[in-house]
Amino acid sequence: MNQVRDYVKKKRQIIFRRENYMDNEERMRKLLQAMYKPVIVSSEFKEKLLTSLMDQLGSQAQKPATPLWKNRWVWVPVAVIIILAIIGSAIWLLRPEPPPSIISPEVPSEETPITPEESVPPEGPVQMANFRLLISDEANAIENFESLEVTISGAGLLPAAEENEEEPEWIILELEEEDWCTVDLKDLMDENAQEIWSGHVEPGKYTKVFIYIESITWTLEGGGDAEVKLPGNKLQISSPFTIGTDYEVNFVFDVTVVEAGGSGQYIIKPQLAQSGPDKPFKLVPPEKQSKNK
């Protein structure tokens, strides 16, 4: 029996290879079609299926059109709108308090520098603006520039750690993209300063301040190439200060641009000596600054 089986198997393969069926698509097609002849199905099954299909068609035709509100796909956009509305309301309710708009101190004239004592606002509501961050520029290599614009996209304060307490978290003073502040450092030399952020922060002791620099653009005096770099995407200074409840602290963040060894490379860095809460400054309003440009 085994011999017969082996013989048949061998015979199949020999014939298949000899006739080269695999390399001849036409032969393969004919062979497959001969092998897979149409199958005759029982007429009983065929009829039964047709009858059930006819019944199905009849019931489908009788079914009244589904009202629109019963179509589940109609509810998908409705559900999406409801969910978005809920999320939107939650975000609106949980949003951080915006800086009170009532604080808009009078812009002093350029001729009369103000001191922090002069900038104390009148008493007002509890959540009054008690902190103002300003940016100024210490003249160094700024003379080499026709303009040097930096865009500030945010700032942060580090609260002082209480005794036996862990390092506290930074308080981020976020700026919406439309509130990002672009200043030309050329206009902020000496005591000139421009406001970056104003609002209410938790009263207390703070040790560090940083500002995020989003971008820098510059033009050299008389043209030419230069490279202006930042040590990172933010500038940070350590300067302990206190924010109270009933007066506004004007913190001047002074930056400077220095040339790295006459290489044509410039670095913007914080100027600690000129930065702090008690530095005199002359406020340059954005309008004034744009006029200067």
Partner: protein, 199 residues
Amino acid sequence: MEKPDSTPQAQEAELIARIHQGEKEALQQLYQSYFDRLYSLVFRQVGRKKEVAEDITQETFVEMLKSIGKFRGKSRFYTWLCSIAYHRIADFYRHQERQDRMGIRPLDIRILENNYRTPEKSDGPGIDESKYAQDALEQALLRLPPNYRHVLIYKYVEEMSVREISQIMQRSTKSVEGLLARSREVLRKIIDESGEGLR
């Protein structure tokens, strides 16, 4: 005056529109046109299992009737019907694979029968050699992975174009061409293997 379109596609489109309106005669006509062909195809694709072929054919026609409104005429009606059947066949093989993994599927009697079957005409003068070749091919086809077998059947038995096969199998035409080439290669390997079908 414009001559009415009498191409098979136009006739099909008309039948479909009539079925959509609930006309039973149109359904009967369409059913008679495609039932035998579809059943034969499914029967081959599922390894000649009669009950399975009947179930899949029935499910295919029921599904066809349910979703006939979705047929947009972008392919031939038969291609669309085949694509419904193809998903059912794929489900069948997935189910079989699960059973194989769990070790609960009974031994495939059909394959065993085929492997031990001898050609109708035994050795002797006037031997029908194509019967032997046919037998060798059938043994090899049964050992192909389902997708390889499907694509060969669509191509050589159903004589479908690569584009039609791509519509059925929901693959790109490039992928179908690749699948066809691999199927032929694997088929050749299986046939070339010694001890084919008797292990």
